[in-house]
């Protein structure tokens, strides 16, 4: 027993430390149980009264992964291609477009920086192209004589900054949305990981995250002309379907610049996948006629193309983006969907509207905005104030177009298209036809500023709160049953020593949770599986030791000497076996993502704690029983 004082204090210290770190978690569980028993009003009052305390325990308690508490995990990608297009001057040409397209294709396969791919592509398409000619206005550092390398360096910095800015903007939006404990991180060169526990409105969050806050005021074309375009579109597409027209030939032609519905609002998971996905969508609707998808409502005073059922919007968008179809739409006209569904219909459907290609005013003139309510109807709206320049232009625009509708377009969706009654001076206007939450979200997006480049959701995982609760129950149940079975089995097989191992196992589990809480790690469902697995594997070290002790006893040693020898001889096997498994954990952690990292963390924590409990805790107990009490410990 000599020299065990240090070990005993170490074990006690770890136990106390674990309990200290786990205390807030226990407190939180108790709080939540208490709150759950109250009525709703009481709960709200209680929450307000104890806000600080609750917040403190919440922050210090064991983090549960999104798969356990429910919520949303989104990976956003900042569109490098779109950013480069944005940075370029207006005088881009076919070489530029072609290079951008090639770079986009290559970025699927390559890990290289997008800017490098683009530069390589443009030099490939037309050797000796000077990049400076496209980016003269992108930065002060670029002038007509800048070399391609210099331009590329500037573009890289811009891209880097865009991602950082986008991360900040996303953070602002999420904070304003009111998520408790969100996590927003930059990942790699152009991705942002957003974790939002407890979010139950995925659609709203998606729009909020992706919204580029591109606000535009546009006039609308003559309804008669739009009706003609609508008819020619239907006629062309449907005839094409019937005749099985070989659209492949026309598709290779360059697409006109102003294409189609919802181009800005394209929300595909991946830019490059879009083309492929579109073709799939196209082939899926190949046998469906446009007249079936698009309901034309004749005799309108507003330039409506028609109504599209919600489930067909993607298909119609795909048809309209087809180059051969896009050619039928006059270049001065853009076809966009309405943001809100058509009123008074049984099935949810949206207007497809025609707006002018020309943007009269943009969001940059807006100085202030806020959610508000219409004076008489009390309908929610977003009120906007413009700066002097904007106010003057808005007054001119409205003055010159009395009696005509003006479209207010946000991120490629038409929110309202009021008919101008009189010239509006003073620069105030509003976005109507929104719900209250929509009004709040639009303000959030407008206030946080426009994203420097469009972002796309490349990964999304949503878990409902009930499913999370189920996972917690399942995980806890497996943990308890697994634990009990192992302890019973060990006691049965090794008798007294087995029970000692059982005690060590209790401490082991306590330490694992303590480590997780202490290091602020996140417990996920795979993580819980990792703990369960650790329980099964943790006894391995004990088994190795006990088997050795049995061997030593069989060779005729005294119990005391056998225990001593058993631990010593088992050490090298235990060390090698655990180090290799730990290395696997490290690899799993470095290459895995999300929940899998949670698994790796518990696996590693489990190895460390099981080494400690087997070599120190079990040893202490055995030493105490054998040497301190002189007990005849049975090893089965």
């Amino acid at each position: 027993m000599q020299g065990n004082g240090f070990k005993i204090s170490a074990v006690l210290a770890f136990v106390l430390l674990s309990l200290y770190y786990l205390f807030p978690t226990v407190q939180r569980t108790l709080d939540e149980r208490e709150i759950a028993a109250m009525s709703e009003d009481e709960a709200t009052a209680y929450r307000e009264a104890n806000y600080d305390d609750l917040q403190a325990t919440r922050e210090r308690s064991l983090n549960l992964g999104l798969d356990l508490q429910g919520g949303m995990h989104v990976t956003l990608e900042v569109g490098a291609a779109a950013l480069i297009r944005e940075l370029a001057d207006d005088r881009t040409d076919e070489t530029f477009d072609e290079a951008l397209r090639i770079a986009q294709e290559q970025s699927l396969e390559s890990r290289d920086n997008f800017v490098d791919l683009f530069v390589a592509a443009i030099e490939d398409v037309r050797p000796n192209t000077r990049l400076a000619r496209y980016f003269r206005n992108a930065s002060d550092e670029i002038n007509a004589r800048s070399s391609n390398d210099e331009v590329a360096a500037v573009l890289k910095v811009e891209l880097e900054e865009a991602v950082t800015r986008a991360t900040q903007i996303v953070r602002q939006r999420v904070d304003r949305f009111g998520v408790t404990e969100p996590s927003i991180q930059k990942q790699g060169s152009n991705r942002i990981i957003v974790e939002m526990p407890g979010v139950t409105e995925p659609q709203r969050v998606r729009n909020l995250l992706r919204g580029t806050a591109k606000l535009e005021f546009r006039l609308m074309p003559d309804p008669g002309q739009v009706a003609q375009v609508a008819q020619s579109l239907v006629a062309y597409v449907d005839e094409g379907e019937e005749a099985e027209a070989d659209s492949a030939a026309t598709e290779t032609e360059a697409a006109p610049d102003s294409t189609a519905a919802g181009e800005d609002s394209t929300t595909a998971l991946d830019v490059a996948a879009l083309a492929e996905a579109e073709q799939e969508a196209e082939s899926a609707v190949r046998d469906r006629q446009l007249s079936e998808l698009l309901t034309i409502v004749p005799g309108q005073s507003v330039p409506y193309v028609g109504q599209v059922a919600v489930r067909d919007t993607a298909a119609v968008g795909a048809i309209l983006r087809r180059p051969d179809v896009a050619r039928l739409i006059p270049p001065t006209m853009d076809l966009l969907f309405s943001a809100r569904p058509v009123e008074g219909l049984e099935e949810e459907a949206y207007w497809l509207l025609a707006v002018n290609d020309r943007v009269e005013l943009e969001g940059d003139v807006v100085t202030d905005d806020g959610p508000d309510f219409a004076p008489f109807t009390n309908a929610p709206l977003v009120s906007l104030s413009m700066n002097t320049d904007g106010a003057t232009r808005w007054a001119q625009l409205t003055g010159a177009n009395i009696g005509r509708p003006v479209a207010i377009v946000l991120d490629g969706l038409v929110y309202t298209w009021p008919v101008i009654q009189s010239a509006i001076t003073g620069g105030r206007t509003s976005i109507e036809g929104v719900t209250r939450t929509e009004a709040e979200d639009i303000v959030t997006v407008l206030k946080s500023g426009a994203l420097p480049a469009p972002v796309q959701i490349v990964e999304e995982r949503t878990v409902g709160p009930s499913l999370g609760q189920q996972a917690v129950t399942a995980g806890t149940r497996s943990l308890i049953i697994g634990f009990l079975l192992v302890v019973v089995f060990m006691g049965f097989y090794y008798r007294t020593a087995g029970l000692v191992a059982g005690v060590a196992l209790v401490l082991n589990v306590l330490f694992i949770f303590g480590i997780l809480a202490g290091f602020g790690a996140t417990l996920t469902l795979p993580g819980m599986a990792g703990i369960v697995l650790t329980i099964g594997m943790a006894v391995d070290a004990n088994v190795l030791i006990f088997e050795r002790i049995r061997e030593e006893m069989a060779s005729g040693k005294t119990l005391k000497a056998a225990v001593q020898g058993g631990f010593e001889k088992a050490l090298s096997a235990i060390a090698d076996a655990n180090i290799t498994t730990f290395l696997i954990g490290v690899i799993l952690y470095s290459f895995g993502l999300g929940p899998i990292q949670g698994f790796a963390v518990t696996l590693m924590a489990g190895i460390v704690t099981s080494l400690f409990t087997a070599l120190v805790v079990t040893r202490l107990f055995l030493d105490y029983l054998v040497q301190g009490r002189g007990a005849n410990v049975a090893f089965g």
Binding site: I481, V539, D540, A577, N578, L583
Partner: protein
């Protein structure tokens, strides 16, 4: 209680049996990896997977028919744990998470009145992101094999190192093969995804754990019984660690079985591969890793394994 007390089995004599079993298993595994092949989940292929909860039970085939009309063929519908929960997986459509899950919910709601569908879990992975995940998984699997190769080489010598990695590769291939073989036959969702990769690495970790314990004993015994044949020594080492090997397998198998039964639908594929892996891993450390070390030693000299700090 004691099992295998003073066990003296001649594993080396049974090596041909072991090789035959491993050979057959490997053959079956490789064939089923080619056909029917492993099905990649959306993690590695890209696509959308949602779990839809409805108020009344719906027949997966009918739901599938309804969805095919909207999304084109290619979506997959399965019951998920309970009759009112359906797992729907699709790679078709415009690739947009929100659009697809909306379309699915809308279609089910329209086709089955009163079903009141609700998405309780959504996973959507873009194709490009999926490619990154795939790369990460490959790096992880090969990286771990390489690290083990290196570690065992440093702690033992190259023969042990090769024997261990051969056994691990054997385990990974067989588990993947069995996975491919049964994935159509079981009601459990068996798809190659991130969780399965994690399971594979855990199996690698478990199997190497087992193997190292045996190696350690072989190394110890070669110091003790210098005059004896290496195969005899190795055989004795396997025999004397046998009870530990079996015992640890039993406790680990117990908890993994519990995970399979009580861990819920999400962990089912994961725990099933662990069950397979622990069985194969335990077997391989006895019948694959050690025989290979013996054969390599008989073939390439009999240098004494490095004496390291661990041999006390």
């Amino acid at each position: 209680m004691r099992i295998f007390d003073n066990a003296q089995y001649d594993f080396w004599a049974k090596r041909r049996l072991g090789m035959t079993i491993s050979g057959v298993l490997l053959l079956v595994a490789i064939i089923s990896l080619i056909y029917p092949g492993l099905e990649a989940g959306i993690d590695f292929k890209g696509g959308t997977e949602i779990v839809v909860q409805t108020e009344q039970p719906l027949a997966p085939t009918e739901v599938r028919a309804a969805l095919d009309e909207q999304l084109g063929a290619g979506s997959e519908v399965k019951e998920y744990g309970s009759p009112t929960e359906l797992l729907i997986r699709t790679t078709s459509g415009s690739g947009d998470a929100s659009a697809i899950s909306q379309t699915i919910i809308g279609t089910i709601g329209a086709a089955f009145a009163g079903s009141n569908p609700e998405a309780i879990r959504t996973d959507a992975v873009g194709p490009r992101f999926a490619e990154d995940l795939q790369r990460g998984a490959l790096y992880a699997v090969f990286g771990s094999l390489f690290v083990i190769l290196l570690y065992i080489f440093i702690r033992f010598d190259w023969r042990y190192s090769l024997g261990a990695v051969a056994a691990l590769t054997h385990d990974v291939i067989i588990v993947l093969g069995l996975f491919a073989l049964v994935h159509d036959l079981t009601p459990v969702t068996l798809m190659l995804d991130q969780a399965i990769i994690a399971a594979l690495l855990t199996i690698v970790g478990y199997s190497i754990n087992d193997t190292v314990v045996v190696f350690d004993r072989i190394r110890e015994f070669t110091q003790l019984f210098k005059t004896e044949d290496f195969s005899t020594v190795a055989n004795r080492a396997i025999s004397s660690t046998l009870s530990r090997t079996i015992l640890t397998s039993v406790t680990t198998m117990l908890v993994v079985l519990i995970l399979f039964l009580f861990g819920g639908e999400v962990l089912r594929g994961f725990s099933l591969s662990l069950i397979l892996g622990i069985a194969v891993g335990t077997y391989s450390s006895i019948f694959v890793a050690s025989p290979i070390v013996i054969m390599l030693r008989e073939r390439y000299g009999t240098s004494v394994p490095k004496l390291s700090t661990a041999t006390r």
